[in-house]
């Protein structure tokens, strides 16, 4: 493999890993802070892509599509938390699995009623649809670089909010010890709703920004859900830095696996997960005891 192809694959791997991080960070935050395992996370990735397609086509403005998908999903997340999810706090995992499975069926059917079941593609505005020359013969699409930078900016923002703000402090305290946080009178429960809504909205945002590159189709959330779970298992539940490491690892392994071992690429991610389970069952950055 020459250096140009290698660079392209590396850029692809990082871009894939960053998008995966957006989805998985929402999942790991919701579990780490709310203690709820949300199987319906992937369906919002799919919904975000459909919302972006619908808004972009309706308004002719791609930015409206992305921001609208994020905003609508955030509001849906707020509503879902106050109606359904808050009843799951402290319930057993089995109930959480079943309720989120029911949510998947409902959201998926609503998507079918609103947007149909057709495969769609999102048109890019002109200024994003060009290519950058990498070497004399190889080009790299501008939009993929924009996606990487955008996701990187969001990732930095997530870290800053968690590490440097008061809200982040409450979130960290809640993840550390829920009962103690409540006992100290910290308004932790009202933060839950925002955390859930942001988690959902991040998944939808990832689906929206990926929509112009991949196709928009009904089952697109399922694969993403499984990969996000693998990311969370790799990184350690509730750990956002762990999710970043896990997502980039999967991006690299999947992309380069497809180049070097195309017939085994689909399995490599799970081999990696098995290896981490053998060495560190609670994930790379997970706490020793769960």
């Amino acid at each position: 493999m020459d250096i140009g192809t290698f660079a392209i694959q590396l850029l692809n791997a990082v871009q894939y890993g960053l998008v995966l991080f957006l989805v998985a960070s929402g999942l790991t935050l919701v579990f780490g802070i709310l203690g709820v395992i949300n199987l319906a996370h992937g369906v919002f990735y799919m919904l975000g892509a459909y919302l972006a397609w619908w808004l972009t086509v309706a308004t002719g403005n791609f930015a409206v599509g992305i921001l609208g998908a994020f905003a609508i999903s955030f509001l849906v997340g707020m509503a879902l938390e106050s109606v359904f999810i808050r009843r799951l706090y402290g319930r057993d995992h089995l109930s959480q699995v079943l309720l989120s499975f029911g949510l998947i069926l409902v959201v998926d059917e609503l998507r079918q009623m609103l947007f149909g079941r057709d495969v769609q593609s999102v048109p890019l505005p002109e200024w994003l649809s060009g290519s950058l020359p990498l070497t004399d013969v190889l080009n790299y699409p501008v939009y993929r670089i924009v996606v990487s930078l955008f996701c990187l900016a969001i990732a930095v923002a997530i870290f800053l909010v968690i590490r440097r703000t008061r809200i982040g402090m409450v979130v960290r305290a809640g993840a550390e010890n829920r009962e103690m946080t409540r006992a100290l009178g910290i308004p932790f429960d009202s933060v839950n709703r925002y955390v859930f809504a942001i988690g959902i909205a991040l998944a939808a945002l990832a689906g929206a920004v990926i929509a112009p590159i991949s196709t928009v189709f009904p089952g697109m959330g399922d694969g993403m859900l499984i990969l996000s779970f693998v990311v969370v298992v790799l990184g350690g539940i509730g750990s956002v830095p762990g999710a970043a490491i896990g997502a980039l690892l999967i991006g690299l392994i999947d992309t380069f696996g497809k180049v070097f071992m195309p017939e085994l690429a689909g399995i490599l991610v799970y081999v990696l997960m098995a290896a981490v389970l053998i060495v560190r069952p609670t994930g790379i950055l997970g706490k020793r005891e769960v």
């Binding site: 199987l39 057993d92 109930s95 499975f101 949510l103 069926l105 409902v106 059917e109 769960v290």
Partner: protein, 333 residues
């Protein structure tokens, strides 16, 4: 659990004999439907050995179900009837072997990790069949001739006959019930439920928790494989969806609806869920919306399943008993 009494055995025998009369009483469509319920009930009872009695919420049992189904179709000769005696043990063994590997890795984790890891490994098998051509890819494979059990030239059991097939499914469900129920009355069953209720205490008592759970997980997968084998034989068709986690989740709905602390509960859950699905599909176009809302309502209103629903309807024996009470564990299944 109490050991199986001769009264329980008589009750089981009576139930099986009564159920065996069904083909004489109703049209073919209902016999087929009943066979489907028995097969999914077998899957759900098998799953509940892990979920309800082992405390292991597995999201990969559909993979074992589908694996055994694929095993039957791939092992079958193209134009001749596959031998039941040869293909069934092999299909079940393949499901059990997969469960041994997945179990060894997944049981290093617990709780929510276990759910995520089993989900991931199950989907790995789904994508293996979905993306590679050897299992027919996303289109699946057809089984042209149904399995038979023959001695020499005489065919004793031909699964192509709907009534024979129904009786085979009935035998599988009854056998699964008996096996799980018997297992739970042995010291092994006590060790399994003890590890579920308090892992630390079980470890302190010297119970090899991981090994006990692994055995239960593999056995539960083998029984799920039995159900998958029969399902492939019933429809003469396998597709990757058979291994997908949506089926695992549907089986979990059956388990919760039927009650996790009863061996036969999931069978009742399978009847309700399958009937509900057929009914909704028939009457409503957007049936999944209603189906999803019913599942959500079930979790929020009646987490104990049918027992809670009966209590809500005023039919309960004991008002206000929490459905997932530990005392239930001692009840006769």
């Amino acid at each position: 659990m109490q050991p199986l009494s001769s009264r329980t055995h008589l009750a089981l025998l009576a139930a099986v004999v009564a159920a065996a009369m069904l083909p004489a009483l109703v049209p073919d469509y209902y016999v087929q439907f009943a066979a489907k319920v028995l097969i999914l009930g077998t899957l759900a009872m098998a799953l509940n050995l892990a979920v309800g009695f082992g405390g292991l919420v597995s999201l990969c049992h559909a993979a074992f179900f589908g694996l055994a189904g694929y095993a039957l179709v791939l092992l079958a000769p193209e134009y001749d009837a596959p031998s039941l005696l040869l293909t069934l043990p092999l299909a079940v063994a393949i499901a059990a072997a997969a469960a041994l590997v997945i179990g060894l890795l997944s049981l290093r984790t617990r709780g929510v990790y276990f759910i995520m890891v089993t989900l991931a490994f199950g989907e790995m098998l789904f994508f293996l069949f979905h993306d590679t051509p050897f299992g027919g890819g996303s289109d699946g494979l057809f089984l042209y001739v149904k399995p038979v059990l023959s001695v020499g030239e005489t065919i004793l059991v031909d699964l192509d006959n709907p009534v024979t097939f129904y009786l085979a499914a009935l035998a599988a469900a009854a056998g699964t019930w008996w096996l799980i129920r018997h297992l739970l009355s042995t010291p092994f069953g006590d060790a399994l439920t003890a590890a579920r209720d308090n892992e630390r205490r079980a470890l302190a008592l010297g119970i090899p928790v991981i090994r006990v759970r692994l055995i239960a997980f593999v056995l539960s997968a083998a029984l799920a494989g039995l159900a998958g084998y029969l399902s492939a034989a019933q429809f003469g068709f396998v597709a990757p969806q058979m291994l997908g986690w949506h089926l695992s989740a549907t089986a979990l709905v059956m388990v919760v609806l039927g009650g996790t602390r009863r061996v036969a509960g999931p069978l009742a859950g399978a009847l309700v869920v399958t009937g509900l699905e057929e009914g909704l599909k028939y009457f409503i176009d957007d049936w999944k919306l209603v189906y999803g809302l019913i599942i959500i309502a079930l979790v929020l209103v009646a987490p104990g399943g049918l027992q809670d629903l009966a209590r809500l309807a005023g039919l309960g024996r004991r008002a206000g008993t929490p459905a997932l009470n530990l005392k239930e564990a001692n009840n006769v299944g």
